[in-house]
Amino acid sequence: MSRRIAVSCLLIAIIGFAIFIYIVPPAGQTFWPKCLLVQTTGLYCPGCGGTRSVHLLLHGDVLGAISQNLLFIFIGLPLSIWFYIAGARYVLTGTWSHPQLKGTKATAAAVILVVGFGLIRNIPFEPFTFLAPKDLNANAKRK
């Protein structure tokens, strides 16, 4: 029972987090930590730009959200909504159905998409730069 309370607190915290992202624009804030991988190596990981893309998506700017992080919108959000629904069902009914991707093809597709996206978005040419996150230095520009 206490576990159900903990999960429901987590679900409420996620909604609060989404509201926070909606209100406060992530670009140019000092209190949002910049990804350690970008800070140390300058490389973009598969999740770079995720917070900005969620902020833009919540404000209805789908194109802007996609240009920040394509993978986050098309893979990360559906999977996390899947987890959220599983968690909500657990809170309501007490049964936990673990979200699982099954099968060799689905697995291979997921691996190639996520890892390949992380590699391709670091290529600094014209067609690939669409996948790279934008406005990373908004903080520096505003100063």
């Binding site: 576990r3 000092t30 209190f31 949002w32 930590p33 990804c35 350690l36 991988l37 990981c45 598969p46 999740g47 770079c48 995720g50 993978l71 986050f72 893979i75 990360g76 999977l79 996390s80 899947w82 987890f83 657990y90 007490g94 049964t95 936990w96 159905s97 673990h98 979200p99 699982q100 991707l101 099954k102 099968g103 060799t104 697995t107 291979a108 997921a110 691996v111 996520v114 890892v115 992380g118």
Partner: protein, 168 residues
Amino acid sequence: MNQPGNCPKCGATVRSDSVFCTVCGHTLQGFSRPQPGPSQPPNGPSGQTPFGQPPPDPTQMYVPPSHHAPNWSQPPRSPGFGQAPGFAPVAVKNYLVESILVTVFCCMPLGVAAIIFAAQVDSQLRSGNYAQALDSSNKAKTFATISFVLGILAPCCYLGLVASSLPF
């Protein structure tokens, strides 16, 4: 076949063809060896690959203890729980969804390692290699957990640093 034996860890009486001890969950040694006996031909179709063929009686099938999802709930323990056609009769979680989410959200290269281990679970299960599949599953879970914790801790440490450097 099916003569009772004893679990080497806790001593409980278990069926000789069980994969796990039903009491303590210990992986029983020699579960992958075909049991030579008069009731089963030694080179029978299911002799070499214990997971290649579904067990004859689904109600006798053993669902492993919940050390993968410790006490989260009582999942439906129906005979086909977590089972797809052609898959092993025992469910091994592959943690692929968690690994992807951790990679995408927590921004950690460790998540990629979790993805690679998670991706091996299903094919290892399919080829009947249960021990390796369980090993990959545990590694994927470990890497996903580490990167999740780091992904939570690192921003908290950063926030602490920022807050401590504020001029008030």
